[in-house]
């Protein structure tokens, strides 16, 4: 390890690895620091992603695919199931191996990687972020850099040390918990989503198969719900009623910041990517693909800034991100806020009207049209969502 790098990345998840790869490929010196002993573990994720979300960055490899997905199933509070065939294939990943592969792809471009490296502060000189203070296996060090990229996840503090407001309002934080359980006898190519006030109010519960009847079963509920009943308690209730004797192989907790991107994701010498920047799709809670997109843009812009010797150029990342996804996330966030207030009756009415459509006629777009046509009040909610600033 050197004493100084062009770019230091804090966190080696998908966003960090893409930031490392897209900056290193430009021939500059890059160091990626990971606080845990392993890249990719523990996995705090439902592991679902679209084919396009992966293929933009890496060739599909069966080593990190658990199962392909070709259908979504939505289950209303009253138990009405609506199955929708997907136009674009999806996958449930094996994130432990996937994250490794992404970090390897950064290493191949020349990025250095250090695990068990806990960044506890930033070096700030003349108001500009100029490196990190890091504890590597108990030993404290200072490493300088022209640019620091914070990819330190939902628990990010790097941005705060540079003066950015990075915490998420607890109402927008989905408190999540998940088990990976065996003997879950569901279709192995269908992702299941459960809605309703008894299952996961102001959120949803997912059952994502991983092949051989193994499945990720988890849920997220808004912090405002967690005030009265925790995510863990909702998940225990669901498992007791649906899969009472399923052996649990993994149990994790996690926060899913379902909100728009932070107002500022760049300050002098610092860029934030992935969950740290709140780049999750606020409607679905999915953040692997959007994190990789955010990371890749930041990495490219950081590399350009170093090569041009013009560090102000990193502010370009903000507009590039908003043009690619940030603006769309604002619309998704408005829709999410509409759905948050759906009653169980409304969910059931939508499911009933969509269930009348023949399965082969059900695309996401078509289902949306039918739902709107048969539930005029839904039209108002969606209109509000789209036109709200």
């Amino acid at each position: 390890m050197k004493k100084e790098y062009d770019v230091i990345i804090v966190g080696a998840g998908p966003a960090g690895s893409m930031a490392a790869r897209y900056s290193a490929v430009q021939g500059i010196s890059v160091l990626m620091l990971e606080k845990d002993r392993d890249v990719g573990y523990p996995v705090r994720c439902g592991e679902a992603i679209s084919k396009g979300g992966i293929e933009e960055f890496i060739t599909i490899d069966q080593r990190w695919i658990s199962t392909p997905i070709n259908k979504f199933s939505f289950i209303s509070p009253g138990g009405i199931e609506v199955v929708i065939p997907l136009e674009e294939q999806g996958y449930i990943l094996e994130r432990k191996i996937f994250d490794y592969a992404l970090a390897e792809s950064a290493a191949k471009e020349g990025a250095e990687i250090q695990t068990r490296a806990y960044v506890y502060d930033l070096i700030i000189e003349n108001g500009k972020v100029s490196g990190v203070k890091v504890e590597i296996a108990g030993e404290k060090k200072e490493i300088k850099s022209k640019i620091v990229i914070g990819a330190d996840g939902v628990e990010s503090r790097v941005g705060r040390w540079a003066g950015l407001k990075t915490y998420t309002d607890f109402r927008d934080m989905e408190s999540g918990t998940q088990v990976t359980a065996s003997n879950i006898n569901v279709d192995q190519n269908t992702c299941y989503f459960y809605f309703g006030k008894d299952v996961a109010p102001q959120g949803y519960l997912w059952v994502f198969p991983k092949g051989n009847n193994l499945a990720n079963i988890g849920l997220g509920v808004s912090g405002i719900i967690g005030k009265k009943k925790s995510a863990l308690s909702y998940l225990n209730d669901f498992m007791d009623s649906k899969f009472p004797n399923a052996p649990v192989l993994t149990r994790v907790a996690g926060g899913i910041p379902c909100t728009i991107t932070l107002e500022k994701i760049v300050s002098d010498g610092l860029m934030l990517v992935g969950d740290a920047a709140r780049q999750i799709n606020p409607l679905s809670g999915g953040g692997i693909a959007s994190g990789m997109i955010g990371g890749s843009i930041a990495g490219r812009v950081a590399g350009e800034a170093v090569k041009m010797n013009k560090l102000d150029h990193i502010y370009q990342y903000e507009s590039d991100w908003h043009n690619r996804l940030g603006k769309r996330h604002k619309t998704f966030d408005n829709i999410k806020n509409g759905i948050f207030h759906f009653t169980d009756e409304k969910f059931n009415n939508i499911a009933k009207s969509v269930a009348k459509v023949e399965v082969d006629q059900r695309s996401i777009g078509n289902v949306f049209k039918v739902a709107l046509f048969n539930n005029p009040s839904l039209m108002l909610d969606v209109a509000k969502a789209f036109f709200k600033k």
Binding site: T177, G223, G254, G255
Partner: protein
């Protein structure tokens, strides 16, 4: 004061993500409240997915 039960904590960082005061420090499998910064606002308690953060009335001046 707010307490995190270390034996039950999963170190997921959800609490850190909602803390307005930057008053929680999380390492790989270590977590602590930075007490001088904590305002007892309780948002971490509500956000914790697995009920491992508790409000301990000991040490807090009772309202009169």
């Amino acid at each position: 004061m707010i307490e995190i039960l270390p034996n039950k904590c999963d170190f997921c960082g959800c609490c850190v993500g909602v803390c307005p005061e930057d008053a929680i420090e999380l390492k790989e499998a270590e977590i602590k409240i930075i007490e001088p910064l904590c305002t007892n606002c309780s948002k971490c308690i509500w956000a914790c997915p697995i009920e491992v953060i508790k409000f301990n009335r000991n040490g807090v001046k009772a309202a009169s």
